[in-house]
């Protein structure tokens, strides 16, 4: 019987491509540690084959004010040719690009899509966030009917890494809220899906 729902929707919509309204709450836990750095966090929608349907948010250390993030790796090359000490060059590159150097530590996100992106991505990438609850809303277009997972991955300097996923269905039958919880690097995660 479940097959009928998409069929009915198909007859109502041009094509099978749907949109999903997602309201999301992510808690970054307050941790009592000697040296605290805000975590890098990636939030994305995963298809059943683990490919990425949409990148929703990536929070990492942004370039310092007054410095422009280079679009490519080009600026480092002339510095090397001019014989600048490698240590100094590395430091300069790290400042210019903010924390992109550490993005591969968001290991699953890096593997599934991060390594293919040109950063920054409008409406997706942004600065790291403080401990507390963060509410996010997305209207994800071009989402074919099917089973998806919302995945939240966090990695923290001097800390650990954690991945929490929340499975949900598109289209949603009724408005529903699904809750999940991380154990250390992530707190409560709540996902509300509206039809």
């Amino acid at each position: 019987m479940r097959h009928r729902i998409p069929l009915v929707l198909c007859s109502m919509l041009p094509g099978t491509v749907l949109a999903a309204n997602l309201d999301l709450s992510i808690e970054i836990p307050r941790l009592d540690v000697a040296e605290y750095h805000r975590p890098y966090v990636a939030v994305w929608l995963e298809r059943e084959d683990k490919s990425v349907a949409a990148n929703l948010a990536v929070w990492y250390q942004q370039p310092k004010k007054g410095e422009k993030a280079p679009a490519t790796a080009a600026p480092a090359a002339p510095a090397a040719a001019a014989g600048v000490a490698p240590g100094g060059m590395q430091g300069a590159a790290a400042n210019l690009q903010g924390g992109v150097k550490w993005l591969p530590d968001l290991r699953q996100w890096w593997r599934r899509s991060g390594r293919e992106l040109t950063l920054p991505v409008d409406g997706v990438t942004g600065a790291t966030r403080a401990p507390g609850e963060h509410a996010l809303s997305f209207n994800v277009a071009d989402l074919p009917a099917g089973q998806y997972k919302l995945v939240v991955e966090a990695a923290r300097e001097e800390g650990g890494r954690e991945l929490v996923d929340v499975p949900f269905q598109v289209p949603a039958k009724d408005a529903q809220t699904i809750k999940a919880k991380g154990s250390r690097e992530l707190g409560a995660i709540s996902l509300s899906v509206k039809p």
Binding site: A73, P86, P104, R107, Q108
Partner: protein, 271 residues
């Protein structure tokens, strides 16, 4: 069986002792990185892979192939007593191949009960020297050509395979599962080629890093299928050493026997 065992035994006796007793390795600091990042490598030979307790590897024949297929030079290259080292900045997105390819010919024979070898260790083979030093009709004369590849791979950003194209010479490994896309809980498949063709029935040995901190080596022993492929599961995250060798008669003259060996290191991450 007798006819098979004898040549094998002689071939084994021919190898320099170090090839039997010590494993060559290159240990990358990381393999999954972003563009512009630096990575450093240690290379050595020791009884257990990655344990710095014997000799530095010789890096005379080190070639680093960048993602666009060009050759890039290592930086800060140095050789210590126990390990050689070099750095690399990943200026291009894609996969880099770091390879040390050692080739050579050596002869051994029986001179009135004494084992003789030429050329002496550390000196190169020359046709003139061979003609002068090696008696043509010596007892048990064996002339062996060796092709040894020592490799590892690192990727900045999205992997690509331009640098990974096989050369068609000796024993080489081809990725089926990406060399820098290895995770515990997922099986990985690779393929061995000999002179560019699938190498069947090759015995493959895999050893995880950290032998010093466990009481057994726990080597994984595998064999390639007809298509040269083999599949393995990684027991835990970390660095792995993978090695295989093949002996045949497809040697360049004046060699009569050939030994092709391949060794690589891979980093396996937890998903």
């Amino acid at each position: 069986m007798k006819s098979l065992i004898k040549p094998l035994a002689i071939a084994a006796a021919l190898l320099p002792l170090s090839a039997l007793a010590h494993k060559q390795w290159i240990a990358p600091s990381k393999t999954v990185l972003n563009v512009d990042q630096w990575v450093t490598f240690d290379a050595g030979s020791s009884t257990d892979p990655f344990v710095r307790d014997h000799n530095a590897a010789r890096l005379d024949n080190l070639v680093i192939t960048a993602p666009d297929g060009s050759t890039v030079a290592p930086e800060n290259q140095a050789s210590g007593k126990l390990r050689a080292t070099f750095d690399l900045q990943l200026k291009q997105p894609g996969t880099y191949k770091i390879a040390v390819v050692n080739t050579g010919i050596s002869a051994s024979w029986d001179d009135n009960g004494q084992n003789k070898r030429w050329p002496p260790r550390g000196t190169p083979f020359t046709p003139e020297g061979f003609a002068q030093e090696v008696p043509k009709k010596a007892k048990d004369l064996k002339v062996t050509q060796s092709i040894g590849r020592l490799e590892t791979f690192v990727t900045a950003g999205k992997p690509n395979d331009t640098a990974l194209k096989p050369t068609g010479k000796g024993l080489e490994l081809v990725q089926v599962t990406g060399f820098n896309d290895l995770y515990t809980g997922e099986s990985a498949t690779f393929q061995f080629l000999l002179d560019g063709k699938p190498a069947a029935d090759v015995e493959v040995e895999v050893v995880a890093d950290g032998t010093r901190y466990r009481s057994s080596v726990n080597e994984i022993e595998l064999k390639t299928g007809k298509d040269g492929r083999f599949t393995l599961e990684w027991p835990q995250p970390g660095l792995y050493w993978l090695s295989a060798s093949v002996q045949d008669k497809k040697a360049d003259k004046p060699a009569t026997d050939r030994r092709s060996s391949y060794t690589a290191s891979f980093e396996v991450l937890s998903p």
